[in-house]
């Protein structure tokens, strides 16, 4: 284990009664890395973070922070990290300044250091306007900023942030992620979220957990490439309504278009997407490394059709995430869990999407 490894988890396991919240999680985070810790609700993200911050003890396995074991040296561990728990639970009756001072006192900062650090923290977290206000009068966004402020007050080498952006507005989020990226250059940041676009902005690497296990760990590109599929969307005009059809001859029939597209070399799968009667839209999937756009264009020109839309996208992180953690959502929806959990996981992702939102809510309750 090199000294550069700031967060080290080895076979970390945590049981709550008969429920296994974290199941043999292994990962390492090095200095200068910003790592997104992803997973659906109830996947064990917060539990892992609580173990890493010595709030709870693991049932099995070891974890080291900054070279200190969470079991043997909890105080050393806590001293080397700044932690922002979910929903930033702060003392509501204290003012922002008092809270920062309190955190600094517990971290044994002397007055001069505190003043210096406080100035930069206030600037970074945008707390200047609310410094004298009681925390109870602040909005959730501001509370989260204060929470972040206390985590940064002692300039820790390691930051563990549990859903730090959940209550921020889009501007604040962007600012915050920029800042994380910036401080991540010489520090170690582990941040959990289920907002994937944030991970794409701030992190170079992601760890995806599902059902208490790590299902993916690596640079974002690698994770994205995991399923290795590329998608094309082609839309061809079918009818121009009252205006004259601008293509050659008659507008094409649906079957005609589908057959022609299906014949192109490299097309693995073709599905029609729902559209109105004026156009046909198809989704083609191919292997990675083949670019069909030129051929598609040629085909359509040759036939004399009117092309309304053509675009290609690699599978998004979101798709991968859904693909990897789909069992979780399914398990939560069926009462007799585990019975048919592993069946046809890859199919019907459409329905998953629709129910994802409502699912998240019930998950959160389950976890509490």
């Amino acid at each position: 284990m090199s000294t550069d490894v700031m967060i080290y988890a080895n076979d970390l396991t945590k049981n709550f009664g008969s429920f296994r919240a974290v199941d043999k999680i292994n990962f390492e985070v090095r200095r200068g890395e910003v790592v997104g810790f992803l997973g659906p609700n109830g996947a064990g993200k917060s539990t892992t973070m609580r173990i890493l911050t010595c709030f709870i003890s693991p049932t099995g396995g070891t974890a080291k922070i900054n070279g200190f074991d969470v079991f043997d040296d909890p105080l050393a561990v806590r001293e080397s990290l700044g932690y922002l728990p979910q929903r930033a639970p702060l003392y509501l009756e204290m003012s922002v300044y008092e809270y920062l001072k309190f955190a600094a006192d517990l971290r044994q900062l002397d007055d001069a250091t505190f003043r210096k650090r406080a100035r930069s923290v206030v600037e970074v977290c945008g707390l200047a306007q609310v410094l004298g206000k009681e925390i109870r009068h602040l909005s959730h966004g501001y509370r989260q900023r204060v929470g972040l402020g206390q985590a940064l007050i002692h300039d820790p080498p390691i930051l563990i942030l549990d859903e730090p952006t959940s209550d921020l507005d889009p501007n604040e989020k962007a600012e915050f992620l920029d800042y994380i990226k910036q401080i991540g250059q010489e520090r170690t940041v582990l941040l959990s979220t289920h907002n994937l676009s944030e991970v794409e902005i701030a992190c170079a690497r992601a760890i995806i957990v599902s059902k208490g296990r790590v299902v993916a760990d690596g640079p974002l590109d690698e994770i994205r490439a995991k399923s290795g599929r590329v998608r094309y969307v082609v839309s061809v005009q079918e009818s121009a309504g009252s205006t004259p059809y601008r293509g050659q001859g008659q507008p094409p029939k649906q079957a005609e278009v589908e057959a022609a597209l299906g014949k192109i070399n490299g097309v693995k799968k073709i599905t029609e997407l729902p559209t109105d009667e004026r156009a046909h839209t198809y989704e083609l999937s191919t292997d990675e490394g083949v670019d069909l756009r030129a051929e598609l264009f040629q085909l359509i020109v040759q036939k004399g059709w009117v092309l309304l839309e053509l675009h290609r996208d690699a599978q998004t992180l979101e798709d991968v995430f859904r693909h990897l953690t789909i069992g979780d959502a399914r398990r939560n929806r069926t009462l007799d869990a585990g019975a048919d959990e592993d069946e046809d996981e890859d199919e019907d992702e459409e329905t998953e999407e629709e129910t994802e939102e409502s699912d998240d809510d019930s998950d959160a309750k389950d976890k509490d």
Partner: protein, 297 residues
Amino acid sequence: MATTEELRDDVHEADEAAEHEEEESDESNGKSKKELPATAQPKVFERKPGAGLRNILTITRREFKAYFDSIVAYVVVCLTLLIVGVWFFFFGFWQVDRASVSRLFDGVGSLPILLSFLVLPLLTMRALAEEKRSGTIELLITMPVKDSEVILGKFFAALGLTAVLLLCTLIYPIAMFMWPWHMGPLDWGPVTTSYLGLLLMGGAGIAVGMMFSSFTENQIVAFFITAAVLALLWFIGSIVEFVHGPVGDAISFVSFQTRFVPFSRGLIDTRAVIYFLSITIICLLAAFRSLESRKWS
């Protein structure tokens, strides 16, 4: 003229003393280090000397201020002064017809009963229950503090407020016997021991309250259980007269009342002192264990 040389010597001596102290603290750290297994990690963590005490003080200060930031402190102090005042003047002082404040420490509206029923449960109910409910405990515990420091910090804050409250009640004897009125010579001995007894009993009661507060996330539950237990511990002392034999002995052993009565008569009973201190320590340990148990649940 005190030469600069002399000054320099002084500084030098002070430095030496400081060094000496550091050595000493190093030694005490060294002892605990030796207990670690020989397979110690390459990094060895050492806390800044005095960090523990400073943490306790920081937490105590915060908690003490929190009492005044919420209305708890004002409610407790005002209510107590009011009830004790009414009791002392209308049902006690004039009836006893003596230059005595013994009514402050005896009877329905007296200080020990108010402490048990109202003050201590109110001061301790939030201590850990509310922190657990609102989740603030997570931020507190993940700071570099020990669980024991959290418990002690909160304990001293409550004890401090109890002391403030007791100081406030001193206005009654002072007003009656020193200024503005002089109702006669007051024997301050029993008053002093009574206050000492109240403080000791208060400490034990706070520990009991913190223990129950650490068992639940609901501060109302913590309040009622603490009040019930403290009231029970007080009032079983009243039936001692009617119960004889080993049962009676046992009751008079555990009752706060029988332990407190000697103090109100001007007697510092070492057995009572030790009893109250033991209760304090045992209950604080229980609270500590309960706080620690979050790790394993």
